[in-house]
Amino acid sequence: MSSRIEILNAGGYRSDGRRQYELRTISIDLSPQGSGADGSATLSHGLTQVSVCVFGPREAKMRSQTYHDRANVNVEVGIAAFSSSERRKRGRGDKRILELSQTIKATFEPVIQTSLYPRSQIDIYIQVLQQDGGLLQACINATTLALINAGIPLYDFVCAVTGGVHSTSPLLDLTLLEENDLPNVTVGVMPRTGKGRLVK
């Protein structure tokens, strides 16, 4: 039946009652989460929810993975089996998860002032709790918040949002339903310098 839902109806409303450029409700929780993370953030865009813990900068567990002039940024993403409508376990080696963590790593590596912490490691652990479209944007935003929360020096912070095109009308912050139907792109920008950081 999903195909029976109009992405953008004649009245200019999307399937969840938003208009074209409206974002879903964002809620942010920065309270520390157990296990002594240095910074953490739980962020939800509508029904997409991710929780990020940042550890570090700390001593690298494996010496081989250190750099003499900067800190190593390590991103690990876990997607909870219950996060999507169909229960599905994804292993660590899942290509899609690897790609996601690679993207996030590539986004943040140049933003974090890594040269301040040579031979150390910054771990970013992302846990996806609920998925309803805009996963990458939620991960990036939550990571930014968690990094700030951890007090890690950044050149700028990265904000991301997904955009799609329905015929000729652009839409922002797509839900899963919209993401499945529309060509879409996630854009990360750095508001202070006004530079784009990521287009995916």
């Binding site: 992405i7 004649a10 009652g17 029904l47 409508s85 529309l182």
Partner: protein, 1006 residues
């Protein structure tokens, strides 16, 4: 910069903002789906001058509402519920229904779920200028959004939502227009809930919402009289629509196991045959079986039980009491099923399905009272022995699309409508539906389950844009299964290595390959060929000369294809598979590689060519004294067109040898024809037209005209017949078991019954069908002095009553059924066109063996092999004929379109032509336009009086001919004038010739 306004509720009201439901996936898993919904306060009410709601660009509803309705003097707006749109769409669409209407989102979405076509109609209405419809997104407005309660059906939830929205509207109106002090209290317009559901009305009344049934509402309107007619009857009693049916509904009976089928057929209880649907009525089909003279009729979807054209099915017969006669009505699948939905049919017990079934049963009920004489065996399909599914050329039905945006990536279930009217619509799942619109595509059927009303298929590839010549041509070839791929290397390797430069070697020592062995040297004989203009594959040539004894020697020389095409090589098998050359208007699909067809075998003038000759000695009265057959070498002296030959013959100044031999041939041909006619040969007619092409490159048709027949046509024909008959006798004599012959079975008398009856009743003429001679004689008498074309028309209709001729193997049928009915010959074969017919190649081989020229290849001694080959050839032959006709039809359509445009630009109006009525239906007439050689169908929407016994139909006079209350009677054979247009079918994009009657009645208004 876009202005972004965000007005959302705080998260505390999460219950309202989240929708939760469970969904069953295709694999049977149950999945919980959670969706958000953002409620807002800026959803406008759409009433003009409302001070709360923001002005919008879209047309608003008038502030006072509608003041014309009797029951609501203070003005009102109508707020219909879903069922009103589902059942009374015609009413809402009427021009007279002009009340300002509030369309709720809940209603709109429900309509969309139920029936996409209806939704599209509704969508179009909301956009049209003369309707005042405001769409209110009640699900997004905070006050009117509701959540489904526990134990509440979705239907009840929607009804409640509609009631709440109505109540909200009424309070909204009163709130936004508070009484102004000092003025008398303004009468406020009301929002009226229009619903057919009595329970819903009751609940609404309890809540103090004014509501009304459709009938009552319409009764109070200005144009009540006309509008009441539009109310559909089903609306009053059939209310509660969504029955949550358990699982899929079984629509068709299961097939019997194949062992039972085979046993039943062997025992004679069941009958096996090809399924043949009725092109005029998609709910009817026939299966011809040898056990009955009339084919077995299958009426209704269930009895046809998922059979598709060409399937070999097994039929169970009903009791004789239940036998029926075929309908006289035209039932168009597209018209009847236009509201049917691709996605949900069979998926849910939708009321749409019931509607379809009701409609169909209504159609079927009509034909119960018929005299028993017209009844024919009726039965139902109980099994399918062999599916004959292939790839079908289709169009995507645009109304079945959920989204026409090319950016949409989601999978959609859509209908593909086959080009052929004989096929059902095919359900298809595709991601690229929007981009396939307006394309001809190839679709194959995968399966047809008992629970699915339509077969399911998948997309194969696109052929190209609709109406582009390439796409249409390829689609024609595919539709008629013409193998059209280029010849492969293995085949081309069988050609003589010399290629173009191959020549007949000089006689004597230079003849290394021994080509001259046993060949007669006829190079000096004055041979010429007569063919249609532009003919490249000349396979026959003629000569005639006076013998000293006063007799005449006449010779027919046929291209010696069997010299080049040797048995059992790749070229031979390919030719056998192709069976025949297919001639389309602007193209030719060859049976043999063109090097042979148009060069080495073609008996072109002035070059030496190998031939197979039949040479007779005839008396001046055209009696055969003797005949001999020989392989030969000839050199044609001239290649004439029919016209050139005719002019040459008629020019008395020309006394050269060539002209004289044509005259000699002609005199013999006239005598031969007279003899043939005396023996009872039929002079049949078929509508043949010729397409004038603009130029070879653009191949735009510019005009259509009927083919002219000249004396020389008949000359060539007579000698070909003579050759065929002589050869047939010879090979039958030599190979009584395996000779390749052609026969035309006499048609069963019953085939003519209808035509005889029509002729007797309308013209008082009789048709004697006792023998072909009698038929020929009585056909000659069918002359209407005032109407010269009448005789041709009767001939055409008589031809259609006959069976088609077929090739057969002499050993496999009884000797007394060898005869050729149409030619009144006791034996016949095809010998004269080996370049374009494979049967002729076989005949050549047999004849060569019969005269001791070469031994017969082993395969031609085997009866089963010959039978198998001829089966293929027969089928290919039929298909080629149909493809050729369809190609002509397509070009006639193009030409008509061109002509229509020209005459329109000149301001002459549309193309009008005279036509004859050839068939009458309950709701229309079939007409034949002889000038264009096309048949068309004129249907009447308004009531007509149909008299099946007398084949007449009375059409009420249109407004212009008022006064004649009786209406005008139209009967079969009446001459009428039709207007011909080519219009694109809205759904399928199929160019279709549309005819409307102009005289005696103008049916445009009907």
């Amino acid at each position: 910069m876009v202005e972004i306004t965000i007005r959302k509720r705080p998260q505390t009201e999460a219950v309202i903002t989240q929708r939760k439901f469970f969904k069953k996936t295709a694999r049977g898993k149950v999945v919980k789906v959670l969706r958000e919904r953002y409620l807002r306060d800026d959803v406008g009410c759409g009433i003009e001058g409302c001070r709360e709601c923001m002005a919008s660009n879209e047309p608003l509803l008038p502030a006072k509402g509608d003041l014309t309705h009797q029951l609501f003097p203070n003005g009102h707006y109508v707020l219909p519920d879903t069922n009103v749109f589902l059942s009374q769409m015609d009413l809402i669409e009427s021009d007279r229904f002009r009340s300002p209407m509030i369309l709720l989102q809940t209603v709109l979405e429900e309509v969309r779920h139920r029936s996409l076509p209806l939704y599209n109609r509704l969508k179009a209405l909301t956009k049209s200028e003369d309707k005042r419809i405001w769409t209110f997104y009640n699900e997004y407005r905070s006050e009117t959004a509701i959540v489904r309660e526990e134990n509440e059906t979705p239907n009840d939830r929607n009804d409640r939502g509609i009631r709440i929205a109505t109540a909200w509207y009424n309070t909204h109106i009163s709130l936004t227009r508070p009484p102004i002090r000092g003025q008398t209290k303004n009468a406020l317009p009301t929002v009226v809930l229009m619903t057919e559901d009595a329970a819903n009305r009751q609940k609404a009344e309890q809540a103090g919402i004014s509501c009304i049934s459709v009938r009552k509402y319409v009764e109070g309107m200005k144009d009540a009289g006309q509008l009441l007619d539009l109310l559909s009857a089903a609306g009053s009693d059939n209310i509660e629509p969504t029955q949550a049916s358990s699982g899929r509904q079984v629509l068709y009976p299961e097939y019997l196991p194949s062992a039972t089928l085979i046993a039943g057929v062997k025992a004679g209880e069941l009958y096996q045959g090809h399924f043949n649907p009725n092109p005029y009525n998609y709910l009817e089909g026939t299966v011809s079986v040898p056990a009955f003279s009339k084919p077995i009729l299958l009426v209704g979807r269930e009895n046809m039980n998922r059979a598709v054209q060409g399937d070999i099915v097994v039929v169970e017969l009903f009791d004789e009491k239940e036998w029926k006669a075929p309908t006289d009505e035209v039932v168009d699948q597209e018209a009847t099923l236009k509201n049917d939905d691709a996605e949900d049919s069979g998926e849910e017990g939708d009321e749409n399905a019931e509607e379809v079934i009701a409609k169909e049963s209504r159609v079927l009920r009509l034909e119960t009272q018929v005299p028993t004489s017209e009844r024919q065996p009726t039965g139902r399909v109980v099994g399918v022995i062999k599916r004959n599914w292939r790839a079908y050329v289709c169009h995507i039905d645009s109304t079945s699309l959920t989204s026409t945006l090319t950016t949409s990536l989601s999978t959609q279930t859509v209908f593909a409508t086959p080009v052929s009217r004989l096929l059902p619509r095919i359900r298809l799942r595709t991601r690229q539906a929007p981009s396939l619109l307006n394309q001809k595509i190839l679709v194959t059927i995968d399966r047809w389950d008992t629970t699915s009303r339509y077969p399911e298929g998948h997309f194969v590839r696109t052929l190209g844009k609709v109406e582009s010549k390439e796409a249409e041509q390829e689609s024609l070839l595919l539709e008629f299964e013409v193998p059209y791929r280029p010849f492969g290397k293995a085949i081309l390797d069988c050609l003589p290595p010399e290629g173009d430069s191959w020549v007949v070697p000089p006689k004597g020592d230079g003849d290394v390959r021994n080509i001259w062995r046993d060949r007669e040297d006829l190079r000096d004989v004055i041979v010429c060929s007569i063919d249609p203009p532009g003919c490249q594959d000349i396979d026959d040539a003629l000569h005639a000369k006076l013998l000293p004894n006063g007799n005449i020697e006449a010779g027919v020389h046929i291209a010696d294809v069997s010299h080049f095409v040797l048995p059992d090589n790749p070229m031979d098998s390919e030719a056998a598979a192709r069976g025949t050359t297919v001639y389309l208007v602007d193209n030719r699909i060859d049976m043999l590689p063109s090097l042979l067809g148009t060069n080495l075998c073609s008996l072109r003038p002035y070059v030496e060519r190998l031939a197979f000759s039949a040479i007779w000695e005839l008396t001046p009265d055209a009696d055969i004294v003797n005949v001999r057959f020989t392989k030969s070498v000839i050199q044609s002296k001239a290649a004439f067109t029919y016209e050139e030959a005719q002019i040459r013959k008629d020019d008395p100044h020309l006394q050269d040898e060539l002209t004289n031999s044509i005259r000699l041939l002609n005199s013999l041909a006239t005598k031969l024809k007279a003899k043939r006619m005396a023996a009872g040969a039929l002079n049949l007619a078929s509508p043949e037209v010729k397409i004038h092409l603009d130029s070879a490159e653009s191949s735009d048709p510019i005009d259509v005209e009927q083919k002219e027949l000249r004396e020389t046509n008949s000359l060539v024909e007579e000698f070909m017949l003579l050759a065929n008959v002589s050869v047939a006798r010879k090979i039958d004599e030599s190979f009584p078991q395996t000779a390749v012959l052609r026969r035309h079975l006499p048609p069963p008398k019953t085939n003519f019954e209808k035509l005889q009856d029509i002729l007797r009743k309308t013209k008082g003429m009789t048709l004697d069908v006792s023998s072909s001679g009698a038929l020929a004689a009585s056909l000659d008498k069918c002359i209407d002095p005032s109407e010269p074309a009448f005789n041709t028309l009767v001939r055409i209709m008589a031809t259609r009553c006959m069976l088609s001729a077929e090739y057969f193997c002499s050993g496999s049928v009884a000797r007394d059924t060898f005869g050729h009915y149409g030619l009144a010959s006791d034996i016949y074969t095809h010998f004269t066109s080996p370049i374009r017919r494979y049967a002729d190649v076989l005949v050549h081989r047999q004849l060569a063996a019969a005269i001791g020229f070469s031994p017969l290849h082993a395969s031609l001694h085997s009866k089963s092999h010959v039978e198998r080959v001829l089966d293929v050839v027969n089928r290919r032959h039929r298909m080629a004929q149909m493809a050729g006709r369809a190609s002509v039809e397509f070009y006639v359509g193009l030409a008509l379109k061109g002509r229509g445009e020209v005459s329109k630009s000149r301001g002459e109006g549309e193309v009008r032509e005279e036509a004859f009525v050839i068939r009458t239906f309950r709701n229309g007439v079939g007409v034949f336009v002889s000038k264009l050689g096309i048949e068309g169908l004129v249907t009447f929407k308004r009531d007509t009086q149909f008299d099946a016994d007398n084949y007449t139909i009375s059409v009420p006079g249109s407004a212009s001919t008022a006064g004649s209350k009786e209406g005008v009677k139209i009967s079969v054979f009446d001459k009428v004038v039709v207007q011909i247009e080519v219009e694109k079918d809205k759904n399928t994009q199929r160019g279709k010739v549309k005819m409307t009657l102009i005289e005696p009645v103008d049916s445009r208004a009907l």
